[in-house]
């Protein structure tokens, strides 16, 4: 049995803490390298799997192209608008339903039936109503995202401690004050979760609508590259959508953390 001296042990651990992220980077880089090699030596058909370097270069070209950014803006605008509508409508409805036992039971079967309907099924309806205008995209986005927010807000509203609410009532707090000091703190984390989930669903439906209905945006561009057989461009655009997806995730988590941190401090203030 060997004995470890203290400095050596410390060294090993310093590297252990960095190990995770480093390996992660190695994984990504390794994947790109493998892809590049496999494509160049013909292990995978370069017509369908262009080398990673070419895809990255094409992505770079896109980033300098104003038309690309117009498409990104179109997609993001529809995403944002649809998400905002879904959040407001979902939160209001969710609060009403969660607050009333009667409403909850009354609407449960309808919600359970409507929720699993895939938003894409509404594509033909959207086309009939709005053609290729952005409203058809919004219809799809809102229909899909609203459930995420609504359900979370219902859970949150139901989670409000009835004892705390009764106590507040007995202290003479009116409805608005009770909402502010009792309901809101409890429901907020749920709402944030709902927003985070809705954000990624909204992106999926935005791209979907653009692909099928051909409303302007990245989805439409992706379909066009396929028609032109431009595999490199398609990969580059797909990469771009992935990056947008990651960005949205990160921003949402950041917002969630900040809001909940503020929320925690507010809760402590209120309790104190």
């Amino acid at each position: 049995m060997t004995t470890l001296t203290a400095p050596k042990a410390a060294e090993r651990v310093r590297s252990a803490a960095l190990r995770g992220p480093v390996l992660g980077v190695v994984g990504v880089v390794g994947f790109l390298v493998l892809w590049e090699l496999a494509s160049r030596i013909g292990l995978i058909d370069p017509r369908f799997f262009p080398p990673a370097s070419e895809v990255l270069i094409r992505l770079g070209e896109y980033l300098l192209d104003r038309a690309f950014w117009r498409d990104v803006a179109a997609t993001m605008w529809a995403w944002f608008l649809g998400l905002a509508i879904a959040i407001v409508a979902g939160a209001v409805l969710g609060f009403l339903i969660g607050a009333s036992r009667f409403l909850e039971r009354f609407t449960q079967s309808t919600i359970e039936f409507l929720r699993p309907i895939p938003s894409v099924a509404l594509v033909p309806l959207a086309v009939l109503l709005f053609g290729t205008k952005v409203q058809s995209e919004l219809l799809l986005i809102v229909y899909a995202s609203i459930w995420q927010v609504l359900l979370q807000v219902v859970y949150g509203t139901k989670d409000v401690d009835p004892v705390a609410d009764a106590t507040a009532k007995s202290y003479g707090l009116n409805l608005w004050q009770r909402i502010r000091y009792v309901v809101w703190p409890t429901t907020l984390p749920y709402l944030m979760t709902g927003i985070r989930l809705a954000a990624s669903v909204a992106l999926i439906l935005a791209i979907t609508a653009e692909m099928i209905i051909q409303t302007p945006g990245l989805g439409k561009q992706i379909i066009l590259t396929r028609e032109g057989g431009a595999a490199t461009s398609m990969y580059a655009l797909i990469l771009a959508t992935g990056l947008i997806g990651v960005l949205i995730n990160l921003v949402m988590r950041f917002i969630e953390r900040r809001v909940l941190a503020w929320h925690q401090s507010v809760r402590m203030e209120v309790a104190g």
């Binding site: 049995m1 060997t2 004995t3 470890l4 203290a6 042990a9 410390a10 090993r12 651990v13 310093r14 590297s15 252990a16 803490a17 960095l18």
Partner: protein, 278 residues
């Protein structure tokens, strides 16, 4: 006293250092030097102040944690992984039993892995459950039982395994006092019936004196053996008479004093003593 044969467990110069958890932090020397032996069939209790590395010691003996230095031998062979003839009862019974399996399935699982046939498995698990007074609980799920009953299932699982040495890591710490008394008697009963060697770690001094034939007191971190006390109470013990025996109070006081000392002493302030085999 019978002629001492080769001790079943030999711990010599055991040392365990935990590397620093974060870069730039301090490494922790949990155990500096532990040396003791355990003869076959003994019920030895291990006590010490909080943080004294009791669990670390058990994990090393159980082959779950590699020591930094020192010699660990079970029945003459070095311990390099969980030994076949050893069974462990953990403190957190709620997390040690598998909640997706019934009580009986839990008790039988180690046997299944050891290649024991179905009929024999059923028989051994039934016997074990009877021995811990849970004959009817076979089809229940662990989370349907109370804390004390769950720990009895864990004990039954160990018993059915037919180990030669049984390790128990503060098994009754999370259980109420009344249940604890019952479980202590259960351990002594099983120990006598099965003739196993038992290593029982506890922070409860009374429990260690009531149960053990011998109590090893550990010092504070970095841990060394502080004291090794023979419990010369009669072999037949029960909760009422034994605990009111004046000798019980004396031993209790002695060990309590050692623990108080142990809180202040560490491996740095003590000279290492070699303890003769009991």
């Amino acid at each position: 006293m019978p002629e001492p044969t080769t001790p079943v467990l030999v711990v010599e110069g055991l040392r365990k250092v935990y590397p620093a958890p974060t870069a730039g932090g301090q490494s922790v020397e949990a155990i500096r030097d532990l040396t003791f032996t355990v003869p076959q069939g003994q019920l030895v209790c291990i006590v010490g102040p909080s943080g004294a590395g009791k669990t670390t010691l058990l994990k090393c003996i159980a082959g779950l944690l590699p020591p930094t230095a020192g010699k660990l031998e079970l029945q003459g062979k070095p311990i390099s992984g969980p030994p076949r003839t050893m069974a462990v009862v953990f403190q957190e019974y709620g997390r040690s039993l598998f909640p997706w399996m019934t009580v009986q399935a839990n008790v039988e699982l180690p046997l299944k892995s050891a290649g024991v046939g179905k009929a024999e498995r059923h028989q051994r698990s039934h016997e074990a459950l009877v021995a811990v007074n849970l004959a009817d609980a076979g089809e229940k799920y662990p989370w349907q039982l109370s804390g004390g009953m769950q720990q009895r299932v864990a004990i039954a699982r160990a018993v059915a395994y037919r180990p030669e040495i049984l390790i128990m890591d503060e098994p009754f710490a999370a259980v109420d006092a009344q249940t604890r008394a019952e479980l202590e008697d259960l351990v002594r009963k099983l120990w006598k019936e099965l003739g196993v060697t038992v290593l029982f770690v506890t922070h409860d001094i009374d429990e260690s004196v009531y149960l053990g034939e011998r109590v090893i007191v550990l010092s504070n971190r970095p841990t060394v053996v502080q004291d090794d006390v023979v419990i010369d109470l009669p072999a037949e013990r029960d909760q009422l008479t034994t605990r009111s025996d004046p000798r019980f109070a004396e031993l209790r006081l002695k060990i309590y004093g050692e623990i108080q000392r142990a809180k202040d002493t560490t491996g740095d302030t003590m000279t290492v003593r070699t303890i003769p085999a009991a």
